[in-house]
């Protein structure tokens, strides 16, 4: 059973049109992460939540925002997607151990 669920799996959005990606978890983990991964590259951390505490990476563009209304859900909002934002977006969770549990990702295409 999927423990970190990302919806949708594939998202096509228009240049400049706001888009929201969602992530839910059944693990009750207190830390949730959003990563951006471009083709065949390593994932790049955008931000993470420790419970409700939001932590933004210094080089994450202002165009990217996140919300975590409760333990189970976390959203990634891209306010004005550009062509360079096309990527796989990965959600991950962690509790006390070092390993992450990743979702299957959302492949974002910007047209």
């Amino acid at each position: 059973d999927a423990m970190v669920i990302q919806n949708p799996r594939y998202q096509v959005t228009q240049f400049g049109k706001p888009v929201t990606l969602s992530c839910s978890q059944t693990l009750n983990h207190n830390v949730m992460y959003w990563y951006q991964q471009k083709s065949s590259q390593a994932p790049k951390l955008l931000f993470h939540y420790y419970d409700k505490d939001f932590n933004n990476e210094a080089d994450t563009p202002d165009n990217f925002q996140s919300r975590r209304p409760n333990t189970s859900f976390c959203f990634l909002d891209i306010r004005s997607p550009g062509l360079g934002d096309a990527a796989m977006y990965l959600c991950a969770t962690r509790e006390t151990g070092p390993g992450y549990t990743f979702g299957s990702g959302t492949r974002l295409t910007v047209v």
Binding site: P43, H48, G99
Partner: protein, 112 residues
């Protein structure tokens, strides 16, 4: 910033061959992880190594953590087409929230 250098970046081999992927750093890590990612999917944790010199086996995969906890290797014996994917090493980035730093990844293709 703690950097992880993976090599090789690309590996294309025939079914049945053996291979080794390396992950090196100048930093000492408390632990190191290996993930495998198939196209269109998220990374899946294969193993976590925590003790210097530790060797862990997962079927045909052997993971080793260097004595000084600065490097690691992944060895696959008798590779199969199902082993094809992106292999990523990752280590804690030093924050208490468990930020992971990833290596650049190794794209492995195993041809039948």
């Amino acid at each position: 910033t703690q950097l992880l250098e993976q090599s090789p970046q690309f590996l294309s081999i025939q079914e049945g061959e053996n291979l080794t992927v390396y992950c090196n750093s100048s930093s000492v890590f408390s632990s190191l992880q290996w993930y495998r990612q198939e196209p269109g999917e998220g990374p899946v944790l294969l193993v976590t190594v925590v003790t210097g010199g530790e060797v862990k086996k997962l079927k045909r995969l052997t993971f080793q953590f260097g004595d000084a906890r600065k490097d690691s290797s992944l060895h696959i014996t008798a590779a199969q087409p199902g082993d094809t994917g992106l292999y990523l090493c990752a280590a804690p980035g030093g924050t208490s929230y468990g930020k992971l730093t990833f290596g650049q990844g190794t794209i492995l293709t195993v041809h039948p």
